[in-house]
Symmetry: C2
């Protein structure tokens, strides 16, 4: 691949980005799309924009970028929660470390690469890309110390920055937990695996148990029954109730005689909106024979609830299982009644499912990888031969088409993974999303990084025409293609736009104002982390990738802040639990980088340089161990507020 | 290797075993060695044997075997604790599963192997050993379904038996925790990482903290000071005090003016012998400027101590770290004062150290592996040529010498691993031993199993004379050699015997009656588990190994029970925590067996049989997940006794 081909690809992407961003800046001012682009604000602040016709509406503008940049951390925390802050800090960390890496690599390493061999240099645009990678350094070169030095600096600074961020987020998490006074979840324990007894009702069992063993702080409880039909009616009632709140609904399936009842949380005085349960006596009448599934137990103090949630209750760890209850809005009701004994089977089954899915996904990835090599396209799709002879078309196909197809395939990953996570049986929305986030991350690292590289190497070997030197270059093409395109698509909210259009103009239905999506952390966190991994592992080997990556992170910073502030609603919050995932991924990326460099320096027959890649691995692992001791416990539990 | 060579090796071992066991049955009746063979009884029950000369003393007898077999589980629990029971159950499980495996494999699989190829059969003693292994089955044989079936039965029954044992030990653990009423450890919390304050003394800091946050159940506390010299004096005093108790010592280093003081545990009324601390005021006088390292905090109720130990105390997880205190006799005093913040470095460093040690150990193992192949010995040690020409000598060398040398090398492993475990900074003896046990186990599995196999394969390839078919056969030779020999040496207590002899007859010192060793779980558990792994992985491939293994486990059952009852003292007890280690190892062994069989059946070009090895893997992993949910939490913490 030549520099010019890369530039063409980048140019197309920049063009599309500018176009889409301008389009966005216009569309966001149209009243018709206000629900798509300002969902959060609408839901919180009622209508702001009136449907007046002003010419200004149709002029692209940049004000939204300024707004997104100006917003402070407090605003973001208030608007989108601690998870948003954690996500934002991931981007800030990436921008910082890759700015440094870009400066060091472009000015330090790129010249070493370019002048690494005494050859005749062409003009830069028609130079082959591998002239700028480590491929161009001579075997047994004495200049590899530059690479080692840069690696040391990057690893050291990355650890330093990670420490700052971890500390910052841990502090915010503690503040966040202290600040939320109206937080019924902290007073409540979710009890599962309540054993059947000869006693007449499950409710009295729960009462007996907690009065006996937690007498000092036990307040009262609410049993959740596993009731097929009643469950469905409850779910229906809950939905309907949500609609009634906005008093716009007429066509509900609500059985009007059975209303959902809202228990005011007597501890904090707040009315917890989601603890909508049928009154116990009414349920008991209907479902005497139904199994008691779980119970929410309320305590007088936060400390009491915390202690009760941490202790093992009986000698059988699958009975009377206590956990801190999720926040009312966070409860994933359809999983609450799952028998606790079943969960281990579900966990194994979903693990298996994810593995099989990851393996089956190899097929499209391998095919697409083939597309980016032009002679493969000639062979596999011979009818395109005429078209491919034209230089620009061929550059588009090699630089752009594979990314688009791969992107479309990757869109199927997160729905499938979140389905797996749902089947796993988490009791809260945030846990479900976080588990999906980990799954998608493993999937990305495995499939996009390892397999992409491996299949590329295999194809190259089959061809015998090109060597593995193109791998880093191919990755460089991924970033403008997939990265920038996906950001633009996120900004444009293509799905939301089309959905809105169909609802409004095709089906002519009234808009559903209650539905505002939550931020898809399970797709966006892995995406950002994957590009980070790509950046670290290519930094010293193919530094040309870094400017593209830096542009991606800058754009991402603007876009995601804007989306968090305007589009998505914070219904639930895991309290910054995405940060440990990000931290571990960066640690993994840094270690992998060292291992890759060890291999590359070994191939260059420079044992000294290869040897110098070993000590940082131990340094990084030690740092990780330190963080696990110092910060991680705060993300697993929290210090009690003894009130 | 021929059958006759194997039989020679086995014969020599049987001879040596019978000789040593007879010798043991004589020696144990000699009053001179009573401290070696009845250390525990002497320490507990005072002298039983008088120094009368009876002829019976010099006649070998079998009564001790009957005694060892007759003793009930209650006796063993009383004499040697729950760890001994767990170890005993490992042996019982092994005997049961390998009896079944031996029956199935010898009657089902051995004929398939022997008649697997249509060749002329020699007389059995001069038949090559590989005639009895899977090597002799034809490629694409239809008889491999027998192997699959046997594998299924073994895996299923192993899981069933493991479930019974896990349940049994969990029940015993609960009973054990309930039964021990005089157990100060359960009322005590060990606090580390106490921060420095402007406050005048550390003691008042601890008092303030626990009075403030655990007012309802806090009783009092005892600070442990980090004091260089004072620490040493205390250790000396402790030792001396132990000697004084038996009032036999005259030559102690005790500073008589400073006596160790025994605090009676005011909760249970028992005098806890090891909480021997200097009175606070005296210490404070000497070491005003010394750092406060840790504190034992005593609670009114077990439940209060348990809750305090489980909660995170402050927003910094490295300060005010609370754990349940070890039992008085279990406290590892020299690690108590280690700064908590340092522990993560120690953990990383010992991990590194163990890795390096495991890698360096490859050298002797590879050399020894070479010895078991006769032509290698010829080449490496040419001066032995004349000797090696004699058939019996060569059979001894191939069958016996390598095991002895390897055994001697392996004797260095456990002291080094326990040194690493000490450096890691555990606060109790039992934790230290358990951690060493895991390390030795990893080392054994890695070095003896994987590397032994791999180096054997490499050597075979270098020779080009023999193929990998000898590997299973070589392993078969390991069991009579290493297994039986190590059991006999354990029974004979060679080290103890020599030590005792030197002390008594060479140095003419008075015997140290206070010193009775504790059972070396960290060497014996890994040894037994390694033979289990060997048994599972060779069962269907080289069934001839099973009778030898079964003999090993039977002998082990007798020997270890005898040793636990008579020789070793139970000073501390981890409460059956060795069982989860054993369970995980068996799970690993079963999965590895399936994977090895997958490979072997694949080489035999039998895709159906290979495919049938996949489902058991998932079954085994599911079973493991079930046990982790159902039983493992009981081994990490325990349900509170609310008294």
């Amino acid at each position: 691949m030549k520099i010019s081909a890369l530039m063409t690809s980048a140019g197309i992407n920049i063009g599309i980005c500018v176009l889409l961003w301008s389009l966005y800046s216009v569309l966001r001012k149209q009243p018709a799309f206000v629900r798509v682009y300002f969902g959060r604000r609408i839901a919180e602040e009622n209508r702001l924009l009136r449907e007046a016709f002003i010419l200004e509406r149709f002029v692209p503008s940049t004000g939204w970028i300024v707004k997104a940049l100006q917003c402070t951390e407090e605003d973001l925390l208030a608007a989108a929660g601690l998870d948003a802050i954690a996500f934002n800090r991931i981007l800030v960390f990436s921008i910082r470390i890759f700015s440094l890496a870009a400066i060091l690599c472009l000015f330090g390493i790129l010249p070493v690469h370019y002048f690494g061999r005494k050859t005749h240099h062409l003009e830069i645009p028609s130079e082959q890309l591998h002239m700028f990678t480590v491929q161009n350094v001579e075997v047994q070169s004495r200049w590899l110390w530059v690479h080692s030095l840069v690696l040391y600096i990057i690893s050291g600074v990355a650890c330093f920055l990670l420490h700052i961020e971890y500390k910052h987020i841990a502090r915010l998490r503690l503040l966040h937990l202290k600040r939320t006074t109206l937080n019924p979840g902290q007073f409540t324990v979710l009890v599962r695996g309540i054993p059947k007894t000869a006693n007449e009702s499950c409710s009295s069992d729960v009462d007996d148990f907690f009065t006996k063993y937690h007498a000092s702080s036990y307040l009262f409880h609410q049993v959740v029954y596993k009731a097929g039909k009643v469950q469905k009616i409850m779910t229906g009632a809950k939905k309907a109730c949500g609609k009634l709140d906005h008093s716009t609904s007429t066509d509900t399936t609500l059985d009007q005689s059975r209303k959902a009842i809202t228990y005011p949380c007597c501890v904090c005085g707040a009315s917890s909106n989601s603890f909508q349960l049928l009154p116990t006596d009414e349920v008991a009448k209907n479902i005497d024979n139904e199994e008691c599934a779980a119970a929410f137990v309320f305590f007088k103090t936060r400390y009491g609830a915390l202690l009760a949630s941490q202790a093992l209750q009986t000698s059988n760890p699958t009975k009377w299982v206590t956990d801190l209850a999720p926040e009312p809005d966070d409860v994933y009701w359809s999983n609450i009644w799952l028998p606790y004994k079943q969960l281990w089977i579900r966990r194994i089954a979903t693990l298996l499912g994810s593995l099989v899915f990851s393996v089956l996904f190899l097929l499209p990835v391998t095919f697409i990888q083939g597309l980016s090599q032009l002679d493969q396209v000639h062979r596999k799709l011979p009818f395109l031969n005429g078209l491919l002879k034209q230089p620009y078309i061929s550059q588009i196909i090699t630089g752009y088409l594979p990314s688009v197809i791969l992107l479309l395939f990757l869109y199927t990953v997160s729905p499938i993974m979140i389905l797996f996570s749902t089947l796993e049986g988490p009791t809260s929305h945030s846990e479900r999303k976080r588990s999906a986030c980990s799954k998608v991350l493993y999937f990305f690292i495995w499939n996009v990084f390892f397999v992409n590289l491996a299949s590329g190497a295999v194809i190259s070997q089959l061809n015998s025409s090109s060597t593995t030197k193109d791998i880093a270059v191919q990755l460089a093409g991924v970033i403008p293609g997939q990265g920038w395109a996906s950001l633009s698509s996120e900004l444009m909210q293509l799905f939301g736009l089309i959905y809105n259009f169909i609802i409004k103009y095709v089906l002519r239905m009234k808009e559903d104002t209650a539905f505002v999506p939550t931020f898809p952390y399970h797709t966006e966190v892995p995406k950002v982390m994957l590009f980070g991994l790509l950046g670290f592992s290519c930094s010293v080997l193919a530094p040309l990738i870094l400017p593209f990556l830096l542009v991606y992170f800058f754009l991402g910073y603007v876009v995601y802040r804007n989306q968090l502030l305007n589009v998505y609603r914070m219904r639930y919050d895991s309290g910054g639990l995405y940060w440990p995932i990000a931290h571990n991924t960066v640690m993994f990326s840094l270690v992998l980088t060292q291992i890759i460099c060890f291999g590359v320096f070994g191939l260059k027959k420079s044992p000294v340089a290869a040897g110098f890649t070993i000590p940082p691995i131990f340094f990084i692992l030690s740092f990780n161990q330190y963080c696990r001791t110092r910060f991680l416990p705060l993300f697993k539990t929290f210090p009690p507020r003894r009130t």
